[in-house]
Assembly symmetry: C2
Homo-oligomer: 230 residues x 2
């Protein structure tokens, strides 16, 4: 109800040296999320980490979703800010996509949140940054919106999958073995079935996610450039 700051000014003067604030709460949340995953972020764990009670936390944030959104914003804004600047359109778009990919690879819970809430401001930022390069890249005017959308959808899709993988393969699990197990289940028993999967099974268990991600971005860009202006 009475959320953060209905007062006139921001509370410049801290209550104590370690006073609570949205920023400090988000920081603590990110620590927990990175260390032990999304399921470990409970209000009790967070309160313990901050040496306070859950009620105090609710004074600064609206609810758990608000907290996850703020943590996601934090992580993505930082990643996009310290991105290398590029001059050439294709390289620039690739750099943006990879910055997002790497941020989500490092913080899979953020990817899960973006998939769940695609209207998050970070998505707007990604959409804008990518969209701005489509004209210089030579994507026809009437294809630019669809192209930016396709790229955003693709990036969010990969984000969600990375988050799912991180959830399923917590550190220490043998990635290759897990992928082989999935491939085996997909291929099924019948030796006639699923010829395509059989053919690419080795690639499935050995491929590099990051490299494959870039390949997908390149497909979309190449396809959008090829498109004839109507």
């Amino acid at each position: 109800m009475s959320c953060w700051r209905m007062s006139k000014r921001a509370p410049q003067t801290a209550r104590r040296a370690d006073a609570l604030s949205k920023a400090r709460i988000v920081e603590a949340a990110i620590e927990i999320l990175d260390a032990r995953g999304e399921a470990a972020l409970t209000f009790r764990a967070l309160a313990r980490h901050l040496a306070t009670g859950s009620g105090a936390i609710y004074w600064h944030i609206a609810d758990r979703n608000d907290l996850l959104a703020a943590a996601t914003e934090d992580v993505l804004a930082r990643a996009l800010a310290k991105m290398a600047r590029e001059e050439e359109p294709r390289a620039a778009i690739g750099a943006i996509a990879l910055a997002v990919f790497d941020a989500i690879d490092a913080h899979p819970w953020a990817g899960a949140h973006l998939s769940r809430e695609p209207w998050h401001s970070a998505v707007g930022e990604i959409f804008e940054r990518i969209g701005g390069w489509l004209q210089p890249l030579g994507v026809p005017m009437d294809a630019q919106f669809d192209c930016a959308s396709a790229l955003t959808n693709y990036i969010l899709g990969v984000a969600g999958q990375n988050a799912a993988n991180a959830r399923a393969l917590p550190g220490g699990t043998d990635r290759k073995a897990s992928l082989e197990a999935i491939a085996a289940r997909w291929i099924q028993d019948d030796p006639e079935s699923r010829p395509f999967l059989r053919r690419v099974a080795a690639q499935l268990s050995e491929h590099d996610d990051r490299q494959q991600f870039v390949a997908g971005v390149d497909f979309i860009l190449a396809g959008a450039c090829v498109k004839q202006s109507a």
Copy 2:
């Protein structure tokens, strides 16, 4: 612990006319999911719907996730089965993609589940069906795996977003108004900021999701066909 059927044969003879079974439970779950969304699928609601107790349900399914997976499998298998058969590669891939899109549009919770568990057997089926057409379509051999992956990622990304939209805009909400609100938040106040988003804001709030989805598929396919064989 003792999951379904450790007995020698399947229980051919039903206990009662309305005996419980995994199929009946999944059917009831789908009814609840379609009618009132994913959050409404609780074991208590399900037990009430089936006029039984939650313990009885656990005899047939492992846990909530197993139930969602089975419901997703059901819905997607049905959609892929009754798909129109196509002869031409591009049309065939489009038809597969649209069958998945439409199934998830009708059952957004299934999209959410697929995003959360990309190793679901339905994803294997989609991957295989699409992959099988890439050779006839003319996608270079060494690009086929990446192309099928990109398409699958893209489809799952859109699936997740559709699920999120359905969660945020339950029937009756004005879609256009909601999209305009998102666009306004994304564009921010500063009239100089976000030029691309400003330019496409109208498209953002008026576009057709299904048509835009197809455009994205076409980009990926066109891009994959253009790619030079290394």
